[in-house]
Structures are given as C-alpha cells and as structure tokens.
Amino acid sequence: MEIASVLFCKRKNMSKVIRIKKGLDIPLLGEAEKILQQAPRADLYAVSPVDFHGLTPRLLVKEGDRVKAGTPLFYDKYHEDILFTSPVSGVFSLLVRGDKRRILELRIEPDATDDYIDFGVADLAAMSREEVRSLLLKSGMWPMIRQRPYSIIARTEIVPRSIFISCFSTAPLAADMDFLVKGEEDHFQKGLDVLSKLTDGKLYLGVHHQKTSSPAFLNAKNASVNHFSGPHPAGNVGIQIHHTEPINKGDVVWQVDVQDVITIGRLFVKGIHDATKVIALTGPEVLNPRYYRVTSGAQLASMVKGNIRIQKDVTPRFVSGDPLTGTKSSFNGFLGFYHSQVTVLPEGDQPELVGWIAPNLDKFSISRTFLSFLMPGKKYRHNTNIRSGERPFVVTGLYEKMLPMDILPMQLLKAIMINDIDKMEQLGIYEVAPEDFALCEYVCPSKIEIQSVIREGLDSMIREFS
C-alpha cells in the first residue's frame, strides 16, 4: 500500500495501525496549555444559521421572546423536522441579517443561570431507533450529525452505512481530545450507545496510535477502534473513513465530533440540552493559551478578554475553529456550532518590500525556498498574509503530498471547475469534504481557494441529485 502501510501491532489489543505518511503539521506558536478554566458567562450568545452549510432557516421565535436552553429557534425549510435550539436560556434580543436579508445570527441575552427544557431522562435500551431519532431532532442535536457524501447535516430519512468519530485532531493547535473528554467519560459512552442505535453497521472510533490514552476512547464499548498515526490530516474523519471503509457511490456515512457525542450522551443521562463544552484558546496572539469551559455560541470576548497580545501595527484576527478551516470572527463574534477551538492570529496586512526574494527567516514554507527551512522545529508566528494574487494551476505534485487519499486532487479540482458531474463522481468526490483539502489550499503557490472549489463541487452534486 502506498499511502498507508498497515502493520500488525501487539501493544494495543492487537489492532492494526494505519500509518498516514502524507500531510503536514504546520508549526504554529500558541498551543494551549493543559489548564482548564471556567470562562465567565458571556454577555451574549448566538446561533448562526450560516454555520450549517446550505441551510435555509425558517424562524420559530420573534425578537423579544423568552427562550430556554433547548427551545427551538428555527428549522430547515427543506427538512422541516430538523430543529435548531437555543444553547442558553434568556431573551432572543436581536436578529442579524446580511446581504439579501440572509439571516446571519440570532442573538440571545442570557439569564444568569440556565433554565432547561426537560426532555425527560430516557431509557435508551427500551427505545426504538425511531424514538431515538425523534428525541435528537426535538432537542436540536440532530445538526451535530453530519453525513458524507456532501459534508452536510445528516438527512433524516437515510440510515447510514456506518458512523465515524475521530477521537484526535491533528489540525494546527487543535484541542487535545483526551483532555476534552476528561470527566465526561460516561457521557461519551452514553453518546456512543445512542449513535450505535442509529445504524445497522459499525460505529468506528479513530484514535492516535501513540498519543491517545483516554480509556473512554481506547476501551469504548459498542464501537470498533482504529489506530492511526501520522501528520495532519490523519485526524480528519474523512481520511480515517477512506482508510477503513471508503465511501462508494450510494453509500452514506455519518460523522460526529467527540464533544457533540458527549452532549448527546448528556441529553440521554440528564434529559436536558446542556450545551457546555471545552474549547482550546490558541494562537500566537494569545498571551496564555489554555482551555476554557464555555457554552456553545458564546461571545468570544468572554474567553479572550485581557488575554490578547497588544502590539502597535498588529491587528489580531479571531478565528472560531482551527486556522485552516475555521470561520473568521471578531472580538465580539461568537463560537461556531462545530468548533472546539478559538485561534487568534496576527493579521498580515503590512506590505513587505521585495518579500518574494527576501530570505525571510520568520516565514514558514514547505518549499525550501525560505532560509527558515534551516531551522527545523521552529514554531512560527504565522500571519494571515496571502502573499500573492490568484494564479492558474502551475506547480504540480504538491497537493498529492498533502492528501493521504487515493484521489487525484488536481484532476478532481479541474473537474469541479468545469462542472463535469460525471468526472467528479468518477474521481471520488463522494469521499471528500473541504477540510480534507485544507492543506492543499495552504501549500498552493497559485493561491487557489481550493476548499471553496471543493464545496462548490459538492453543491453541484447535491443540485444534480436532488
């Protein structure tokens, strides 16, 4: 096997280790220290329909309405059973609209303490698949389940072939999931039990061969555990799916993030929508990068206030999520629905004299055209400068080094660019999500927005088959 050699290993339950060779760990400054802090309650919370790709929201509440944690705020126009609920109790104070009156945010002024809607403690063993499904839909947890193909919220009418959960992240500065799951082991296991009811196939956990140590992952019940090693994107669930049970045409598989499995578990243990989660505050511009316990949708200010490096001529960029796939936010912006990480980067908005030939010890590149390659192990204060305008494809062979899948990246991208549906299908578009191509975008010398291209391709496929 070229991409990953499969070896038998005696150390951990005789399970095989899938070694990912391709990819890259971008050396960034600002990894979170393993200290967990309770973030103060935020002044504002928000649920953003924009976090869910392709969603057309229909509101269920009006500005000024009181909501509880778990109150439905809106639903999907095209899948009316999928509800989106409030993470906190308080007053729905403001509806923020963007261009063409697109709904961007529903802002909620929180009460001092949360008042939850009681969904009732369920006896999972006695519940049918249909009952589990409807509880997840009713409580607003369904959107935590995403499906491939298309990388969208799971379609409710389809029973997935299998469900995948990646229990480690390799994204730059990503939160350590062993740390996130600490103290929540029972909820995590409960969540797995719930999910295993929803498929006839297997529930797969992907763990890191050396780094994962939490028994919640390694000894999980109702699931089969696959061991991986290697650089980013080995932690991406898409890569793990590709190397365990690749998606063929017609297959539907689901993916759920670890924190969301925990939240689902809590629903079945406590009967409430408890949207608290642990996030890693990371990045070169953070004074003390560490972990915070927050509630989903919290205003970033509650976490980053007083913890940002203040320098002349440098504006910080706030990213909800990791630096490769996160959403651009602001000091007063909000934590995204799927995110377990907030990253603060320096903006790279200062011009640089003949920067394209300068030796540049402080810039990272996988090409060895910067003298910085002489300093392996160095971590960088990476800024957001794009360096150049967009160019056509010129350099070849680079994306292949960043994508540990048996997929021809440039040919797939070209098929998407000319909207050739057949070619996209033949070249494996069902298996991919934009995040799997994030590193290709990072290294691209032509500065092509590759993740957007992949998203565009997936959207074309959705349109074609709906």
Partner: protein, 389 residues
C-alpha cells in the same frame, strides 16, 4: 521602505479606476507587487497560507539557471578566442561573452514581457510570472550568433502562439521557450545549423586558426567523424561549442541540485529522462552498426542539450504531465525519443528539443490514462462492495 511605499501610494491613484492611466493599472500592479508583497490577507478558506508564491517559485528557477548562464557567457568568450587563436585572460573571455549574451537576454525579456503586459491589459488579468523563466531560458538555448531581431520574433511568436492563445501562463500545451527554439530552427534553418555555435566575426587583422571546425559534438558524430569528438571531461565541463547555456553538464547539475533541494523542480522527471536516455542508448549500443550507436550510453547525457533539457525544459510543470505516475512515463519517453532522434534520424542531430515538444503534446494523453486507472480502481471497489451487499 516607508519612503518607497509612500511614493507607490502617491502614484497609485493615477492608475486606479478613473485615474489618468487607468488602462495601465495591470502594468502598475505588476511593478507594485514586484516591489512589495502586498498586505492582502486571506478572506475565505484557510486563514494562513504557505509563504511561497509564483514569483518566488519562478525566481528560484532563475537562480538555478545562473550557473549555466555564467558558464555559458564564459564559454562564448573561450570558444571565440580559441577560434581566432588568441590567448587572453579568463576575465577577458567572460567579458566577451557578457557583451554578446546580455543583448540577447535583454531582447528576450523586453519582447516577451511587452506581450505579457499587453495581454494582461487587454484581458484585464494580473501579469503572470511565467515569462520570468521563459525569458531567461530562450537566450540559453540559442546559438550566440542568433541575430537579435530573430530572438525577438521567435519570443513574440512563442508567447502569443505558444501561450496567450491558450489563455496565458498555466494553460499552454507546449513549453514556450522550446517553441521559440523550434520556431527559429524551422523558420531560419541556416542560422541554426552549421558553423553558428561560435562567434567568429573577425576584427581587422584577426583570422581563424587552421583546421577550425566549430561543430558540436552531435554534429561531429552525425557526420561520422567520431575521432574529432571532444574529451569526456570537456563535454562534462562544457568547454565545447553549443547553444549558450546548454554545454556545461556540470553547471546544469548545479542547477538541478538547487531545483530539487528547494522543491521547485521535479526529480521524478529529471531522473526518468536520464533513465530513458541511458536505456535507449544502451539498446542502440548493443546493436551498434555505426559510430553514433557505438558510443558509450552516458555520452548522450553530456552532449548537446540533453542535461539542460532534462533539468530545465522537461520539468516545466505546465507542459509536463500533471499526475505523479505520469511523470515517470513522460520522462522516460523523452529520454528514449531524444536518443532515437539523435542516432536514427540523420536530419536532426539534436533530439532533445523535438522529444520534449512531442511529449508536451502527449502529456495530457498520459494523464488521461493515469486518471482512467484511478477511476477504474474506484469502480472495482464499488462493484466489489455491491457484490458483498
């Protein structure tokens, strides 16, 4: 830096919409981005980007060409003074070459960039960096005696017909620099063959030494005068007649090391071309019926434009195959065809140019088959899964 930035900022409005030189804003932008890496930040997708860009990539190819360029300049002088039998210092030899070569470089860049800027303005896109390399390659693969107007015509032809008609850098089918060379070769054959490799314009009182030939190693072999072949060391070092930058295998090797070490050039292609060349030469050597076939296979690597073509021409990522597996086939066939043309076809002693152009045209076909293999593999996986279910 601040001062320059201020000047740029001051003149910028004239080139923007509504400004006096609005039409020239693409040209202005090209110079602006040349002076400064702009303060443009990411807006969609990945928030951070690798510091490499097209300018830097192209610039490193030019750095890799510098050894061949400097050696070529010196060799032009060396060959000239040898031809007229004058003993002069290395510095004088280099100076002579510099004076002869520099105008060719200036003409190549001026004519090519003029077209690039013109098309960028007409089509309203950013000026692409591709020609930075082509502009340097063209002077290195022509004989020093090529008239300047011919260089200009060939460059303009190559940029327009080879590149712009397809949509500019990244869209071309064949390598523009090689197309320029091929254009010269077929349009002005008398200027590109025979005794053209050495500058032999004589000043008053000068005369050629007795028995001066000035033929390249390949021409010598093609005419069956193997005893006149230069020594292996001379051919490796490059102190032989030939196009300006192609003679020194050593200098090209230095360039190859720079390209591979920086990750800009594809070692896969370079190695495959060499392997293909050795393979074909080895086969011909086994069934040798004439002098050209009988030479040791490695001679092919150090004669003519083989090394230069393998390192700087075949590796052009746009005109080469774009799949990784395809690169092996592409390279291998270039090597094979080059030697085949050299040895078997008496009309063209230099096969490198034609072999690369030929394979440029076939590169998409190779990619097609690599792609089909990938598609079939996926299809088989699908059918296997369906059979189980």
């Amino acid at each position: 830096m601040k001062a320059i930035l201020n000047i740029v900022e001051k003149v910028k409005p004239h080139f923007e919409k509504g400004g006096r030189f609005e039409k020239l804003h693409r040209s202005f932008e090209a110079f602006d981005t040349f002076l400064f890496v702009q303060g443009n930040v990411t807006s969609r997708g990945s928030h951070i980007r690798d510091a490499i860009d097209m300018k830097r990539t192209m610039f490193f190819v030019i750095i890799a060409l510098v050894p061949a360029l400097l050696f070529g300049m010196w060799n032009v002088g060396l060959q000239h003074y040898r031809a007229i039998g004058l003993e002069v210092t290395i510095f004088d030899q280099f100076l002579f070459g510099l004076v002869k070569v520099l105008p060719i470089i200036v003409v190549s860049y001026a004519s090519g960039l003029a077209i690039e800027f013109l098309f960028a303005t007409i089509r309203d896109h950013e000026v692409n960096e591709g020609f930075l390399v082509s502009g340097m390659l063209i002077p290195l693969i022509v004989p020093v005696t090529t008239p300047l107007w011919m260089v200009a015509v060939a460059t303009i032809f190559a940029v327009i017909i080879g590149k712009e008609v397809f949509g500019g850098t990244g869209m071309n089918i064949v390598n523009p620099a090689l197309l320029a060379r091929a254009f010269l070769f077929f349009a002005y054959p008398s200027y590109l063959s025979g005794e053209v490799w050495i500058e032999t314009t004589l000043l008053e009182g000068q005369q050629l030494v007795d028995g001066f030939s000035g033929a390249t190693a390949l021409a010598v072999l093609a005419s069956g005068e193997g005893h006149l072949l230069p020594s292996v060391l001379d051919m490796f070092l490059g102190t032989i007649p030939g196009s300006i930058g192609e003679t020194s295998t050593l200098a090209v090797l230095l360039g190859a090391i720079i390209l591979v070490a920086t990750g800009v050039g594809s070692l896969k292609i370079m190695a495959s071309v060499v392997a293909g060349g050795l393979l074909m030469a080895g086969i011909l050597n086994l069934v040798a019926v004439n002098e050209f076939m009988a030479i040791p296979p490695y001679y092919h690597l150090i004669m003519g434009g083989f090394a230069f073509g393998a390192v700087f021409m075949a590796t052009d990522p746009v005109s080469a195959t774009q799949t990784e597996k395809g690169k092996y086939i592409y390279g291998l066939l270039i090597g094979v065809i080059t030697v085949l043309i050299r040895v078997v076809n008496p009309a063209y002693p230099e096969g490198m140019m034609l072999a690369i152009l030929f394979m440029n045209v076939f590169a998409p076909l190779i990619d097609h088959y690599v792609m089909q293999a990938n598609i079939k593999k996926r299809l088989r996986r699908y059918e296997k899964a369906r059979a189980v279910a």
